[in-house]
Assembly symmetry: C2
Homo-oligomer: 252 residues x 2
C-alpha cells in the first residue's frame, strides 16, 4: 500500500486523484487545496486541507500546481527528508526544495477537464535522486499505468519541445484545415478519418516511412497551385516552409 | 447489381478492387491493367485486359491512374456516352473526355500498400454532370462506405489543400518530434498516446477549442527556451511561424 498526498487542485491533480482513488493499492491520505470547493466533489472534506501544518504523513507527496508555483509550494512544506515530487513536463527536478527527497512524476498526455482519459495508456516519466525512491515511484506509476519510463530533466526538456510539435502544432494544422473547409463550404468531418489514420499510421511505420504528398514527390505543379489557392499570406509561408522542410529530410 | 470496370492497377485501384470484389451487389466485370502481373493476385486472368478494344460493357468505368495519365486514358476509351469516373483528389471533372458522361469517385484517405484499410469509414467524394449518374455513384459509394458526399471540383481542390495540412504536414511534425527524441535518447513511443489523443480530440472538440500549449498561453519564457533548445535553424523558424500563427488565430 502506498500512501499519497496530492498538493494542488488543477486539471492534472484532479485526473491523478480520480485514478488513484480507484486504485486499491493506493491510499489518498489527503489533498492540499487552497480552495476546498474545487475538489470537494471528488473527496470527502475531512481529507482536504488548506493548512500546510495539517499535512499528514505519506510515502509520496505529489505537487501538481502551475510551473511557477512549484518552488514556493515545495519550500512551504513543514517537514523534511520525505519524497516530494512534481508533475511538470517543463520544470527541472532541482526546482524542488533541498530539505526533502526530490522526484518527478510526469504523466505525458493532453488533459482536458471535460474528456475522460484512460490512464492505463498514459506514459509516466519518472526521475528521482536515489534508486529506492525510483522504485517507489515506479510501483506507484505501474499501479495506474502500463508504461513508466526513467527520464532525466534534460530528456524531459527535449520531450516537451517534441510534444509541442506533435500536439500543439499538429492541432493548429487541424485548425487551418478546418478553416479552409469552412471557407469552401466543405464539412470538416470529411477529413476526420484521414486525421485519425495519419495518427494511427505512426504506431506501425516511422514518420519518415509514412510521409506522402506533393512535397515528398516534389510535385512542383501541385505545390504552386496550392500556394496560389491559399491567399492568406501566413498560411502560404507555412506551406512553403513545411514543404521545404519535408524536402530537406528526404535528402538526408 | 452495379457492373464496374476498373482501369488501373495502382494503390487506390487495388484497394477499390479488393473491397468491391467482397461486395455482393457489385460485379467487377473487368480490370484494365497494362501489366497483368501487378493485379493477377487479386482477380482471375480472364478478367484482366490490357487492350482497350476488349473492354466490356459496364455501368461505371473507374479510371484510377496517376493524375497526369487520366486525360489520355479517358480519350483512349473506344466507346461513348457511358459513365466514366476518375478517383483523383486533384484533377477536375473536366479532364475526362467529352465523349462519355463524366464523374468523380474520390475516396479521401491515405492508402499504403501494406496497411489494411476499413473502407466503411472512408468518405467518398462524388461529382457528376447529371443527377441520374449521381444516383448511380451514390449507390455504389454506399455499398462500400457509410459516407458519401457531393463535392464539386472547386470544393475538392480546397479539400486537397486542407488534406496536405492535416495529413502530409502533420506527419512531418511527427517526424520532427521523432528526430528530437532520437537526438536526446528518448523513445519516440512515449509520444504515441499523445499523438493519438490529439487526433481523437477533434472528433469531439473543434481544433480551435482543443488548442493548448505555450503559444496559446503566450508563455514567452517557455517559447524562448524551446527556440534556443532547437538549434536546427529550419525547426526554429517553423517553431516561430507556427507559434505566431496560433497567436493570430487566438486574436480572431
Amino acid at each position: 500500500m502506498i500512501k499519497v498526498v496530492i498538493i494542488g487542485n488543477g486539471n492534472v491533480a484532479q485526473h491523478l486523484l480520480k485514478v488513484m482513488l480507484k486504485t486499491d493499492e493506493v491510499t489518498i491520505v489527503q489533498v492540499f487545496a487552497r480552495n476546498k470547493n474545487n475538489i470537494s466533489h471528488l473527496i470527502t472534506e475531512n481529507r482536504i486541507t488548506s493548512n500546510y501544518d495539517e499535512i499528514e504523513e505519506a510515502d509520496v507527496y505529489i505537487i501538481s500546481v502551475s510551473d511557477n508555483a512549484i518552488a514556493e509550494v515545495a519550500s512551504n512544506l513543514p517537514f523534511k527528508n520525505r519524497l516530494v515530487v512534481h508533475t511538470s513536463g517543463t520544470s527541472e527536478l532541482s526546482v524542488l526544495d533541498n530539505k526533502n527527497r526530490k522526484g518527478v512524476f510526469y504523466p505525458l498526455q493532453t488533459f482536458s477537464k471535460s474528456k475522460v482519459v484512460d490512464f492505463s495508456t498514459i506514459p509516466i516519466c519518472l526521475e528521482t535522486e536515489n534508486e529506492s525512491d525510483y522504485k517507489t515511484l515506479e510501483i506507484l506509476a505501474n499501479l495506474i499505468s502500463k508504461k513508466a519510463y526513467a527520464i532525466s530533466s534534460e530528456q524531459r526538456k527535449s520531450l516537451h519541445v517534441a510534444a509541442v510539435f506533435v500536439c500543439n502544432f499538429v492541432n493548429h494544422l487541424y485548425q487551418i484545415g478546418n478553416q479552409i473547409c469552412n471557407e469552401n463550404r466543405v464539412p470538416f468531418e470529411i477529413l476526420q478519418p484521414l486525421i485519425i489514420e495519419t495518427a494511427n499510421k505512426i504506431t506501425e511505420l516511422s514518420p519518415k516511412e509514412a510521409q506522402t504528398g506533393p512535397a515528398l514527390r516534389n510535385d512542383t505543379k501541385t505545390i504552386e497551385k496550392h500556394i496560389e489557392f491559399l491567399q492568406n499570406s501566413n498560411y502560404q509561408e507555412l506551406y512553403k516552409l513545411l514543404t521545404q522542410s519535408i524536402q530537406n529530410v528526404k535528402k538526408l
